[in-house]
């Protein structure tokens, strides 16, 4: 498999010299309609449209009124408006600002929830994206998060130390565990040529059973005197502090994710190591010819990628769910991270934006399910359609009859 998920970023070159007939306005129009930002917006519009059709097609009220559409079209339209408006209104109120809240503090709470959900998505997305940039497909996010959660949880429960020691040690232990786990896939690829897709999938299962074993053994992680595979809650000193006071769930994990974005940006764009990552990702043969140790680059890239995914696991165990380690601590983030990395085109700032968007969908989706009874799965549909449409600018252009990008 050749992996180039940066999906040929369209060269942002100026068009051919304008003729005097081209007005200034025309030029602006042309720049806007042939740029990528507009395609992004339209992709979101298209995805939301398709989502609306799904909601309408399955809404009982709408189907009922559709039966006598010709006789009483007003009923059908009103039912449709209620279904769509209710769904997206709930999505907005659940993810950005609750317009029905009594005061500002309650109203803004959904936005902080969005940021809370975005934290681990960004961190894990960076891990998958970094591997992409080095030409590897890291499907092992789940296993890496599970081990990170297990290690961070163990330190968070058992290390009896002041906050300034326990919290950082717990965070680092989680990242280290995930880094080594992912690094194993890197070493196997470098030394034996084993395909990282197979190895990381298999390591997901192995990590699951390892954590399951740890959570079933009183001597390792299982809460004393219980039979459930679950650990004790985190020590108060190991929990990531709340950023905006106790009224909000937003914790410092989001800030760690932001630091990670900056670090990965610097690593990829400003450091020699990042240059080697990208060179190997673009063309390992050329990189080898140029004197880059390709195998070692794979190993180092997987170590760092694993550490980043581990940060997402740490985020869950020490921040979002500090009530104890369990085998479902990854909450699907390991796989969501793949879509986040793809939507962000494996670029740290893009991943930040994609993580925020998906965090908003996650927060809003639960609100939509609770208040409107629309299954939260519709969010998955819209998310994946956005990625699909953004990845296919020619299709969006064709659908909206936009001018094509001028040839180089």
């Amino acid at each position: 498999m050749t992996l180039t998920p940066q999906a040929s970023p369209a060269p942002e070159q100026e068009e051919a010299p304008r003729t005097p007939a081209d007005g200034q306005w025309h030029h602006v129009m042309r720049t806007v309609t042939s740029g990528n930002a507009l395609v992004g917006v339209l992709a979101v519009v298209l995805a939301v449209l398709v989502g609306s059709i799904l909601i309408l097609a399955t809404d009982a009220q709408v189907r009922e009124t559709a039966g006598f559409l010709t006789a009483r079209p007003g009923d059908f339209l009103a039912a449709s408006r209620d279904a769509i408006g209710g769904a997206y209104g709930a999505l907005f109120r659940g993810s950005i600002y609750n317009t029905r809240a009594a005061d500002f503090q309650t109203g803004i709470r959904p936005l902080t929830e969005t940021l809370k959900f975005a934290g681990p998505l960004i961190a894990a997305g960076l891990g998958v994206g970094l591997a992409f940039r080095t030409g590897m497909f890291n499907i092992g996010g789940r296993g890496q998060m599970l081990l990170a959660g297990g290690a961070a949880g163990w330190v968070g429960i058992n290390l009896d130390a002041p906050r300034l020691v326990q919290l950082p040690v717990a965070v680092l232990a989680g990242m280290l565990a995930a880094a080594l786990w992912a690094g194993l896939a890197g070493v196997l690829k470098a030394r034996t040529g084993a395909h990282e897709v197979i190895v990381t999938i298999m390591l997901n299962y192995v990590a699951f059973y390892l954590l399951f074993y740890a959570l079933s053994s009183q001597s390792i992680l299982q809460a004393p005197g219980t039979v459930n595979p679950k650990s004790l809650p985190m020590d108060q000193n190991a929990v990531l502090p709340k950023v905006l006071g106790d009224r909000f769930n937003l914790h410092a994990g989001f800030l760690l994710a932001l630091v990670a974005v900056a670090a990965v940006w610097w690593l990829l764009n400003r450091s020699a190591l990042g240059y080697r990552f990208r060179a190997v990702g673009e063309n390992p043969h050329a990189a080898r010819t140029a004197g880059i140790d390709v195998g070692r680059t794979y190993v180092v890239a997987m170590l760092i990628a694993g550490g980043l995914v581990g940060l997402a696991g740490v985020n869950q165990v020490l921040g979002t769910v500090p009530s104890g380690v369990s085998t479902d601590l990854d909450a699907g983030i390991g796989f969501d991270a793949i879509t986040v990395a793809l939507l962000g085109r494996s670029n740290p700032l893009g991943i930040l934006g994609a993580g925020l968007l998906f965090g908003a969908f996650k927060a809003g989706g639960f609100a939509m399910q609770a208040s409107e009874g629309i299954p939260v799965d519709i969010v998955l549909v819209i998310q994946s359609l956005i990625v699909l449409f953004i990845a296919a600018p020619p299709l969006v252009r064709a659908l909206f009859r936009l001018p094509t990008q001028e040839a180089k």
Partner: protein, 428 residues
């Protein structure tokens, strides 16, 4: 270190006569596995006998159940494994590769020894174990065949999981509506082809990266099927989600052969469809003009185009067929395994099928064998967890995955996909 550790890729300039460079990987892996079993038996010796039951009650000719003393058998097996490892080492020192039959023999003997040790005091239903493995492997084999066809024509198909899931969904709904399981299978194939069509439109027509489309399609189909399941199927379970089953049918004569019959020929009709599909895909890919074209397009589309093969059309038709094959595997979940659709019921089997494609080096037969291996692994888990064993169950359960990693690292090694897999073709 990377350049030097992969002797397979380094031509030996000093010895032009000997081209094949032998790697020590296989020998190392065999040695590690031998030591692992020896350590297990040495540290946790078992008492009692282990029985291997070779017949099922309905057999016409019933073979007796074989009982062996577990610890002694395990030690004999360790010795045999050591001999095989020594033979591999001897061949390595003589710069000859370890032949496949030796590896296969090693694996079978090692497995018998492991089972004798792990199931001490119990009875292993050999027939049930193998027949169940075959059944569990059905969606994996169909998925892997779909993956092989796609990659051979140059389209990486990560969407196998989506094809299985949509196939399962379509089979459940259509079979419930029509009351015919076979119509459900056809619907499953159509659903798989539909996913392939979307993949093709984006990847071939609009040049979107195939891996992106595949991953995203998987998420999309999880979303769509779960949404429809919650919104529509749960309220109309009677009419939409109670499909008829494709129950096991014994083949006359063949089904009466001892051991082989109950394993291979007393299965669901979907398994018989599987045999045919494996044969047809293999024959078509290697022995027909169409197959030659497919492989040419996957290896060097430009050259294929130059000699007059329509690359775009070949890719489209082939991935549609591949999608139908993978979709048929989805029917397993709702028509054979559990007679109802449930959300995310494939449980990531498509990714295991993808692993089987790579494990099998993009060859239909080898990929089928790899998929059967995964099916055997998942069935072994169930059997062992019932029997109970000296090590914590979690380690037993992770064993197949660990062994797969060993196998991929030690025996398969650097695998080479079709040269043009993943690359969009732009004419001109």
């Amino acid at each position: 270190m990377s350049q030097t550790v992969t002797p397979a890729s380094v031509p030996e300039a000093a010895e032009p006569v000997r081209i094949a460079v032998v790697s020590a990987k296989t020998t190392v892996v065999l040695a590690v596995l031998t030591l692992a079993l020896a350590a297990a038996v040495g540290l946790a010796a078992q008492s009692g006998d282990t029985s291997f039951r070779l017949a099922v009650p309905t057999d016409v000719v019933r073979l007796p159940t074989v009982s062996v003393p577990s610890t002694a058998t395990a030690w004999i097996v360790v010795v045999l494994m050591a001999v095989a490892t020594a033979e591999s080492l001897r061949r390595y020192l003589a710069r000859r590769p370890t032949p496949l039959w030796l590896v296969a023999l090693f694996a079978v003997v090692g497995l018998v020894g492991f089972l004798a040790w792990a199931a001490a005091g119990g009875t292993i239903p050999v027939i049930g174990l193998l027949a169940g493995s075959l059944l569990l492997a059905v969606p994996l084999v169909f998925g892997a065949l779909g993956g092989v066809l796609g990659e051979r024509v140059g389209v990486v198909n990560i969407a196998i999981d989506g094809q299985l899931l949509l196939g399962a969904f379509a089979a459940a709904v259509v079979a419930s509506l029509t009351g015919s399981a076979w119509v459900g299978v056809v619907a499953a194939m159509a659903a798989g082809a539909l996913v392939a069509l979307v993949l093709g439109v984006f990847a071939i027509r609009y040049f979107v990266d195939q891996v992106i489309v595949g991953v995203v399609l998987n998420v999309l189909i999880v979303g769509v099927t779960s949404f429809l399941f919650s919104q529509v199927l749960t309220e109309n379970t009677e009419s939409l989600n109670t499909p008829p089953r494709l129950s096991a049918v014994a083949v006359p004569l063949l089904g009466d052969i001892p051991v082989v019959g109950p394993i291979l020929f007393r299965q669901s009709p979907l398994v018989y469809l599987l045999y045919m599909t494996v044969a047809v895909v293999t024959y078509a890919l290697y022995r027909t003009k169409w197959g030659l074209r497919v492989r040419a397009v996957g290896e060097h589309p430009k050259a294929a185009d130059t000699v007059g093969i329509d690359v775009i059309r070949t890719r489209f038709t082939t991935i549609l067929i591949a999608g139908a094959v993978a979709g048929a595997g989805g029917a397993f979940y709702t028509l054979v395994s559990v007679p109802a659709f449930n959300r995310e019921m494939t449980g990531g089997a498509g990714y295991i099928a993808l692993a089987a494609v790579i494990f099998g080096k993009w060859d239909p037969i080898r990929s089928t064998l790899a998929a059967l291996l995964f099916g055997f692994a998942s069935n072994l888990q169930g059997v062992l967890s019932v029997l109970g064993s000296p090590v914590p169950s979690q380690f037993m359960l992770m064993l197949p995955y660990v062994v797969t990693i060993f196998a991929v690292a030690g025996l398969v090694g650097r695998s080479r996909p079709p040269a043009a897999a993943g690359l969009p073709y732009r004419k001109g």
